[in-house]
């Protein structure tokens, strides 16, 4: 049989034939425009639904994470390697000014603020409660920290000997603006740390943990009372202009520092926010999978219908010498073009909506912070394109439309020319 094999043209499947089959595939799509638009519409809808719902969620997640980070913890922190797991007073960054300079020199860094902290017994009159006393650089933090804007009464720190406390703590201790409070703790090297401060302001964040246990004092007062050196601190809080770059930025800073340091981004600093977002994203992926399966099955159905309607044509193609693989290739091109049509429409509509709503903002029907306090949800969502997911949505549906050809492929391979040619056209 060498003679027949030798006659097989080298150009079967050549670029010219592929171009011709592609043109045929495009024309075939428009043999039944209504069905084509329905299928492409299904693909477009799936892409739009996935991409737009993710854009909406991403817009909310970004603001939520940013608001959360800007309230108190920052987008990233650089710490002593052991401080996060064992927050002892002795786990200090030895040379904070140097680290700060290198961090502030990085692109995208909005602010870098040192903090020193210790647990202490806070007393006012007869009442005492345990609290986390944090020494902050007030002028620097006031530029970005949400706490400075969450003043319930009085004002933010602006000088030595002052304290800024949470509303629940003030209530528990019976403190008001102008009252004095005493802080007692263990200083570095084992001595007693003691400080007296005048309450200049009370904050209310809605976060029970912060409002109940946090007391801010100037970092210089903290260092004096807890016996720290002027260049020592426990954390360098970093605020960046791009949420996604927080970890890289802080790591770059830590790498520049001489001592070994640990870097935590907002994922590690706000695990509850990260978990909430991950849960939502997992839900989206589940929705994504269901939609992709539904669309794939509708495409399978449409292609089986195509095969049924064009049985005589496929029989003829097989009869005149086109191999089943070639016929399947034509169907693959049809599926590819169908997907491309749906993807262009889907991505286009999504982009238009995201751009419009991104600028306008979409108001939330209810105040989300009443429903989920502490998650710093925005009251208006500005959708933001998540190109990674758009690409994933498009590629998943591409795979789905190509997978949808498996059933027609099996039927094509089994297609009997004689019976197929007898099928009415």
């Amino acid at each position: 049989m060498a003679e027949i094999s030798a006659e097989v043209p080298a150009s079967r499947g050549s670029a010219g034939l592929r171009a011709s089959v592609l043109a045929m595939a495009w024309r075939n799509l428009w043999r039944n425009p209504r069905r084509t638009w329905l299928m492409a519409g299904g693909i477009a809808f799936a892409i739009w639904m996935l991409a737009f719902s993710f854009a909406l969620q991403k817009g909310a997640f970004d603001v939520m994470a940013d608001n959360g980070a800007r309230l108190w913890l920052g987008h990233a922190q650089v710490q002593h390697p052991d401080f996060e797991d064992e927050p002892l007073l002795e786990h200090l960054i030895a040379d904070v000014p140097r680290l700060r300079r290198s961090v502030e020199a990085l692109d995208g860094v909005v602010a870098a603020a040192p903090r020193a902290e210790a647990t202490a017994l806070v007393s006012a009159g007869e009442r005492s409660f345990g609290a986390l006393v944090v020494g902050v650089e007030a002028a620097s933090e006031a530029r970005w920290s949400g706490l400075a804007d969450a003043v319930a009464s009085g004002g933010y720190l602006d000088g030595s000997g002052q304290a800024f406390v949470g509303a629940a703590m003030a209530r528990n201790l019976g403190l008001s603006v102008g009252d004095e409070m005493v802080m007692l703790g263990t200083a570095k090297a084992g001595g007693v740390a003691a400080a007296v401060a005048e309450v200049v302001g009370v904050f209310s964040t809605g976060s029970a943990g912060l409002d109940r246990s946090l007391a801010l004092i100037p970092i210089a007062d903290f260092r004096a009372a807890w016996n720290l050196a002027p260049e020592e601190a426990h954390r360098l809080v970093v605020v960046v202009d791009d949420l996604g770059e927080a970890l890289d930025t802080a790591q770059a800073a830590a790498a520049a520092a001489a001592a070994p340091l640990r870097v935590l981004d907002w994922h590690a600093l706000m695990p509850e926010v990260k978990q909430f977002i991950d849960l939502k994203v997992a839900g989206l992926y589940f929705l994504f999978a269901i939609i992709a399966i539904i669309v794939t099955f509708s495409v399978v159905n449409a292609f089986l219908m195509t095969l049924f309607e064009r049985t005589a044509e496929f029989g003829m193609l097989k009869a005149i010498g086109m191999r089943p693989g070639g016929i399947l290739g034509q169907l693959q091109f049809e599926a590819l073009l169908l997907w491309a049509l749906g993807a262009v429409v889907g991505v286009g509509v999504t982009m238009g909506l995201v751009l419009w709503l991104g600028a306008m903002g979409m108001p939330m029907p209810i105040d989300p912070n009443e429903v989920m306090p502490g998650l710093n949800m925005p009251d208006r969502i500005h959708p933001s394109m998540g190109w990674g997911l758009v690409l994933a949505a498009c590629l998943t549906l591409l795979a789905g439309t190509q997978l949808a050809l498996l059933a027609p492929a099996v039927r094509l391979r089994r297609l009997n020319c004689v019976q197929a040619l007898r099928t009415p056209e």
Binding site: E3, I4, S11, A319, G321, R323, N416
Partner: protein, 236 residues
């Protein structure tokens, strides 16, 4: 089979002891019984007989669209039962032209594109393809229809395009299954004159299955089948 396969000079088709049985609703139906049939180069023959006599089955077996249960078939010296599906596909592409009862043109391609398509499968270069297609359509008197799609053509015109598609690759054998079934008598006569001209002028071997007495009258040889066997084989 080697004897059959080696006789590739005189006979373009050589069938020896060919049988084919179908299952219809689990009931075996013998469509062909031990058929011996030779068909020479340059012949124009009709296969006729009542419905179910086996003429289309024989045509399909010769065209490699179906496989015989028993016996051997050689086309242009090539034993079909030794070929794989893809080799059969290549044989059909290179050596056999098909004309179907329902024309079976590709509806989204113009007449010229339909004719060119088979050459594309063969790997003929673009320029040569277009030139040959136009020339072929012109030789069949339908050059002016080159840009029209099948839906814009009459039945007779579509069948001419189908013939152009079948002969443009210069096959050794043209198989036509009821080519006049959907045509009126005037158009059928025109078509038959065309086939006869192709047979005379280009020496194309034409084998057609038909019920139509007019087709039989144009063929030089008439083969009649009944109940799966050849009962008459006459030249006229």
């Amino acid at each position: 089979m080697s004897d059959v396969a080696n006789r590739r000079t005189a006979h373009v088709v050589d069938c020896a002891g060919v049988s084919r049985t179908y299952q219809e609703d689990a009931v075996p139906v013998q469509a062909l019984r031990d058929v011996d049939f030779q068909f020479s180069r340059g012949e124009f023959a009709s296969l006729s007989g009542p419905s179910g006599s086996g003429k289309s089955t024989l045509l399909n077996l010769i065209g490699g669209l179906d496989r015989a249960d028993e016996g051997a078939i050689a086309v242009d010296g090539v034993a079909l039962n030794r070929l794989s599906e893809s080799e059969l596909s290549d044989l059909r592409l290179r050596r056999i032209g098909f004309v179907f009862q329902s024309y079976n043109l590709i509806p989204v391609l113009s007449a010229q594109e339909n004719v060119e398509f088979i050459m594309q499968l063969q790997g003929v270069a673009r320029g040569e393809r277009a030139e040959q297609a136009v020339e072929c359509l012109a030789s069949l008197g339908i050059a002016e229809l080159a840009r029209r799609r099948p839906g814009e053509l009459s039945g007779g015109q579509q069948q001419r395009v189908a013939i152009a598609r079948a002969i443009v690759t210069d096959p050794v054998l043209l198989l036509a299954d009821e080519p006049s079934a959907n045509l009126d008598s005037g158009t059928t006569e025109e078509l038959l004159k065309l086939l006869r001209r192709l047979n005379h002028e280009r020496g194309i071997s034409i084998l057609t299955a038909t019920h139509d007495p007019m087709v039989m009258s144009y063929a030089k040889r008439r083969v009649v089948l009944r109940d799966g066997a050849i009962v008459e084989d006459s030249a006229h």
